[in-house]
């Protein structure tokens, strides 16, 4: 149950259906599941049941899901803290999410790391380190390895925020991808804030996508509140990269509809901003679109909601029953070559 689902078996897998409404529906359902799951964890957080921070993707699920759903087995995805929708679409099981947030020993990070810092690198899902921008060059290296190994038509997607574009690491990795002509898709979610900091303290270019030309890569802009646009633009960018078009630089605009983390009331976000087009909730917009297009009727959508809640409740219930990590069973070994690990002799040989 834990771990990654083969994408073909994932309940709402995108497949490569030519039926756009089918893709849209699947994407919507991942977004919905992510939203429900994150709301559940947030409510557990408010109830004091979560250790550490909780970070949610509210308002940018469309961008995230469009990234995850465009990827296939063999591709690589480096999500960030707000990518629950994309993770699910890429194949991360809900249990990896709940087990990690709830600190179960059986989670993929075994209690060693927590919350958003999880992944299954063997299956192409990278466990982020916190340092912003640092995952991009790692994806470059994985794509370089694919090239060495003769694996063709794989793609690597990297998620980044507006704030992270100020890091030197961002600059070095997108430039490296350009020089090596790697099939890298960089999806920048400009949600207008980096923690409390508005974008005008991060950059002053007229449009973030203006950076693409300076790296010699293809730039794309997309309305991140519009799932159809995201699926098309990000899906298209992924396909272009897959077909040998080199690095793709996507800037998607949205508004962070939550605090930086659940500890943060985001009082600094001007209420007027929430009233603008940017402040639209991509999930409601997508739901309305499905209904208006008659891609599903209200009863079906209602059932999807119920199903998401059921899945989340089950995953949480299961995870709460799991054992916490036991320090006595921990091997305290940071090396794969166990015989080279140092440690115990530096401590007094305690008898306990």
């Amino acid at each position: 149950m834990t771990g990654m689902l083969p994408l073909s078996e994932a309940p709402y897998a995108a497949g490569r259906t030519s039926d756009f409404s089918e893709t849209y529906r699947r994407a919507y359902r991942w977004m919905l599941l992510a939203r429900v799951a994150e709301e559940k964890i947030a409510s557990l957080y408010r109830g004091g049941k979560i250790t550490g921070g909780v970070f949610v993707g509210r308002g940018q699920e469309a961008i995230s899901v469009a990234t995850g759903i465009a990827l296939r087995d063999g591709d690589i995805f480096a999500p960030l803290i707000r990518d629950q929708a994309g993770r699910l679409a890429f194949g991360e099981s809900l249990l990896d999410f709940t087990l990690t947030y709830l600190g179960a020993r059986s989670g993929p990070m075994r209690g060693r790391d927590g919350n958003v810092h999880r992944g299954r690198p063997k299956e192409g899902l990278l466990p982020m380190i916190s340092h912003l921008g640092a995952m991009g060059s790692v994806v470059n290296g994985m794509l370089l390895a694919h090239r060495f190994q003769g694996k063709k038509h794989t793609v690597g997607a990297v998620s980044l925020g507006d704030g992270a574009t100020s890091t030197g690491a961002f600059h070095e990795f997108i430039n490296q991808a350009a020089v090596e002509k790697l099939p890298l898709v960089l999806v920048i979610t400009n949600n207008q804030f980096a923690y409390s900091t508005p974008t005008n303290r991060q950059f002053v270019c007229a449009d973030l996508v203006d950076k693409a030309i300076g790296y010699g890569v293809t730039g794309h802009s997309v309305d991140g509140t519009d799932l159809a646009a995201c699926l098309q633009t990000i899906g298209g960018a992924v396909q272009t990269a897959r077909d040998g078009g080199g690095p793709q630089f996507v800037v998607a605009t949205s508004l962070r509809l939550a605090g930086h983390g659940e500890h943060d009331d985001s009082h600094y976000i001007p209420p007027q901003l929430k009233e603008t087009h940017l402040g639209r909730d991509c999930l409601s917009v997508a739901e309305e679109h499905i209904l208006s297009q008659k891609w599903a009727d209200a009863t079906t959508v209602e059932a999807w909601h119920r199903d998401s809640h059921t899945q989340v409740e089950e995953a949480v219930a299961h995870s709460l029953r799991e054992a916490a990590p036991d320090p006595a069973r921990e091997d305290w070994c940071a090396l794969s070559s166990r015989h080279l690990q140092e440690g115990p002799e530096l401590h007094p040989p305690l008898k306990y």
Binding site: T51, G52, G53, G103, M109, G111, R112, D113, G114, N115, H117, I129, S130, H131, L132, G163, A164, S166, T167, G168, A169, A194, Y195, S196, T197, R201, Q202, F203, Y268, A324, P325, D326, P327, E330, W332, C333, A334, Q341, E342, G343, L346, H347, P348, P349, L350, K351, Y352
Partner: protein
């Protein structure tokens, strides 16, 4: 009562108030008041002097160095000590070498919210004091008390050299004092946090409190443990340590950081070379385990030294 965090805020407020050369630079420190609220209301009270930086640790550090060279007294807040690794080069190669190379001093203060708290995980828990102490040209302060958080931060701003100010996040809200001090030991002097005659624990920062708790526990068994709070780990007050060992004959060095080349290694190397004949028993050390800092509280509580493991080590030391 004033907390350790409030003391840090108060010191910054006072520095801004008294010295027009002081400004603060860091992520989310302006109107928002910082991730930990260490600069709450300061941007409002000192307009234009508490600046939000982009997420550019290298440029944050570089610009502070430049401003210092031109006569300012910048305080840089790293959001977490762990993120200073991306501003590392400017600290260790630009700031730390400037005076020695050019004769121009570099009075910057880099605030590193350091150390572990439950649930913070591998990248929001690090204790990097030993990393910075290895480089010449830096001063490394590690306040363990509310009083020191306040007075040492003020002193850091006054010092002509780059100061790495390792403030411990675990103490931010936990630790309280009735008031702020009027005077303090100078930087470079260690403090006897508790006097004793049977063994010396040398430590710093949050571990001082674990050591004091261990000393309390051993006191119930009749042992008198001396606890030394190093306060600054570079310079390191070898004299005070040696004087204590001269009295007790036994030493345990405790640090929350990783073992290899940490403060405990440096302390014991100094005691062994300079105070060998003062020792009645082999010295001991206790550090965190040699893995990244774990996220889960169960693991975290075992990864770092605690009052319990310090007591166990002390009992062994006293038996030796």
């Amino acid at each position: 009562m004033i907390t350790y965090l409030e003391a840090i805020r108060e010191a910054q407020s006072e520095a801004l108030e008294k010295d027009p050369r002081v400004y603060i630079y860091g992520q989310d420190i302006g109107n928002f008041g910082g991730a930990f609220k260490a600069t709450k209301n300061l941007a409002q009270r000192f307009p234009g002097r508490v600046l939000d930086s982009p997420i550019s640790e290298d440029a944050m550090m570089g610009s502070a160095i430049g401003a210092a060279m031109q006569g300012m007294r910048p305080i840089v807040e790293m959001q977490f000590a762990d993120f200073s690794t991306v501003g590392f080069n400017q600290i260790v190669n630009q700031a730390a070498t400037l005076f020695w190379r050019s004769g121009v001093s570099c009075p910057i203060t880099v605030r590193l919210p350091s150390g572990g708290t439950p649930g913070s995980g591998p990248f929001h828990s690090q204790s990097l004091e030993a990393i910075y102490a290895h480089y010449p040209g830096l001063i490394i302060l590690t306040p363990a008390t509310v009083e020191d958080a306040y007075s040492m931060l003020l002193e850091a701003v006054a010092i002509e050299d780059p100061v790495i100010f390792c403030e411990h996040k675990y103490l931010y809200y936990h630790l309280k004092a009735p008031s702020l001090p009027k005077e303090a030991l100078p930087v470079g002097k260690a403090r006897i946090a508790r006097a004793g005659r049977d063994a010396t624990v040398v430590t710093y920062s949050a571990m001082v409190h674990e050591a004091l708790a261990a000393a309390d526990e051993l006191a119930t068994e009749g042992w008198e443990i001396e606890v030394i709070d190093l306060r600054s780990i570079k310079p390191l007050d070898t004299d005070t340590v040696l004087a204590s060992v001269a009295r007790t004959g036994r030493i345990l060095a405790v640090g929350e950081a990783w073992p290899w080349g940490g403060v405990t290694a440096e302390v014991l190397a100094r005691v062994a070379t300079e105070g060998f004949n003062l020792l009645d028993a082999p010295p001991m050390r206790l550090n965190s385990k040699d893995t990244p800092v774990p996220f889960h509280p169960n693991l975290w509580g075992t990864h770092r030294p605690t009052a319990r493991t310090i007591s166990l080590a002390l009992r062994e030391l006293l038996r030796a």
